[in-house]
């Protein structure tokens, strides 16, 4: 098993700084969805991780903890994640993306 980044939607949707999307070295790995926080009553959307592309470097964790000071990202073993986004289930829209969350391990 290996570590991947996991973003806490409740903290992220309350702040929505989008810094992690700009500092991830991998392309299209940390994505932003305007709808992700809406169902929980938050004003903004949330960032999320396409776990099949995450290499587990934890740069986003440092950025979230030290630059944004939100502490919303943690590294988690992939089999401990009940549901996560995978590239195949991500749809791009005009200004945002939507993801259907599924179990990352089969």
């Amino acid at each position: 098993m290996y570590l991947v980044a996991d973003i806490n939607v409740e903290i992220c949707a309350a702040k929505s700084c989008k810094l992690c999307t700009q500092y991830c070295p991998e392309a299209n790995t940390i994505l932003y969805s305007e709808e992700m926080g809406k169902d929980k009553g938050f004003k903004y959307g949330s960032a999320y991780v396409a776990v099949d592309r995450c290499k587990g470097c934890a740069q986003c964790v440092w950025v979230c903890d030290n630059m944004a000071k939100n502490n919303a990202i943690k590294m988690i073993m992939i089999d401990q994640l009940p549901k996560a986004a995978l590239t195949d289930n991500i749809t791009y829209g005009e200004k945002s993306t939507t993801a259907v969350l599924v179990s990352p391990t089969v």
């Binding site: 989008k18 999307t21 700009q22 500092y23 991830c24 070295p25 991998e26 392309a27 299209n28 940390i30 994505l31 932003y32 960032a47 592309r53 290499k55 587990g56 470097c57 934890a58 740069q59 964790v61 440092w62 950025v63 030290n66 630059m67 590239t87 195949d88 791009y92 829209g93 200004k95 945002s96 993306t97």
Partner: protein, 300 residues
């Protein structure tokens, strides 16, 4: 070269991978995107084999977003880590022999001007510190002295990272590396001064811990290279393997190095300032309005 080169041939759409379809339909081609929109559009860069947490990858990712017209751009590179990611993008990539990237780019840039005339076609060289300052040094300097109109970007990780950690001209004095155990005995080469002496119209240093600055610097450099002359960007992109930086501390290291020896600096020639202001409306380079007659100067 046009927008058509990324589109599907008739009937092939359903056979293309999802990533390719996303890129054609929701990629940055033909529209303006910026780093503030990252995470909401499909990027040109795809998955690549570079190390986890590599700052060079982050810089390349930002650079791919920053180029003003990705559909009219050709990247030129050479041996080194960078080509592993640059080649995995939907921008044509020319892989020169080690060190000849600026020679290849000179010919390419001239050829594109002959073929397409005034229509801007951008050539961007992205090579490591070994390719730019050591092995390709002669061709780099000559292309600058000839005022070839393309952008040279040095991905400066201060080591030959791809081959096990030998010292390069850009390694700092005293640095001890796996294949340079006695420590480097000479100073880091001052490529910025050399670029200015050689007549580059735009010279800048940048560190990828400020994505907006990276974007702005690359945009300016590519636009100036269209008509004014050579442009040079030197980017600090640490090698977390050879310098043993924990991957989650890469940005902390970038900040430390920025404060130590990589402060942001930007040199823009007068001609380039005038060009950016007149052609692309850069307000900071517009001539300051003269004080109206009879105005009382402020006293300090």
């Amino acid at each position: 070269m046009s927008l058509d080169y990324v589109k599907f041939a008739n009937g092939f759409e359903k056979f293309m991978p999802k990533e390719y379809r996303d890129m054609v339909e929701h990629g940055p081609f033909g529209k303006k995107v910026s780093v503030s929109q990252m995470g909401s559009f499909k990027e040109i860069l795809e998955e690549h084999p570079m190390c986890a947490g590599c700052a060079m990858t982050l810089f390349i990712r930002l650079a791919m977003i920053a180029v003003p017209n990705p559909e009219d751009t050709i990247m030129v590179g050479t041996a080194g880590c960078g080509r592993l990611a640059i080649s995995q993008a939907a921008i044509p990539f020319v892989y020169g022999n080690y060190g000849d990237q600026n020679g290849v780019a000179s010919g390419l840039s001239r050829g594109l001007r002959l073929r397409f005339g005034d229509k801007p076609k951008d050539v961007v060289v992205m090579a490591g510190d070994g390719g730019t300052a050591d092995i390709g040094f002669q061709q780099v300097l000559h292309s600058w002295f000839r005022k070839e109109r393309f952008t040279t970007i040095m991905l400066d990780n201060e080591v030959y990272g791809n081959t096990g950690g030998q010292e390069s001209g850009m390694t700092t004095r005293g640095a001890v590396l796996k294949m340079a155990p006695l420590g480097k005995k000479f100073e880091k080469m001052d490529m910025l001064q050399m670029a200015k002496v050689a007549g580059c119209a735009y010279v800048a240093t940048v560190v990828p811990n400020n994505p907006r600055r990276v974007e702005s610097v690359i945009k300016k450099a590519v636009l100036i290279a269209r008509e004014v002359g050579s442009t040079y960007i030197q980017a600090y992109t640490s090698c977390n393997i050879e310098y043993a930086i924990p991957t989650d501390k890469v940005m902390e290291d970038a900040k430390t190095v920025e404060n130590d020896r990589y402060q942001f600096s930007e040199y823009v020639s007068d001609e380039a300032k005038q060009y950016l202001a007149e052609r692309y409306g850069y307000k900071e380079f517009l001539p300051k309005p003269a004080a109206p007659a009879g105005a009382i100067p402020n006293k300090a």
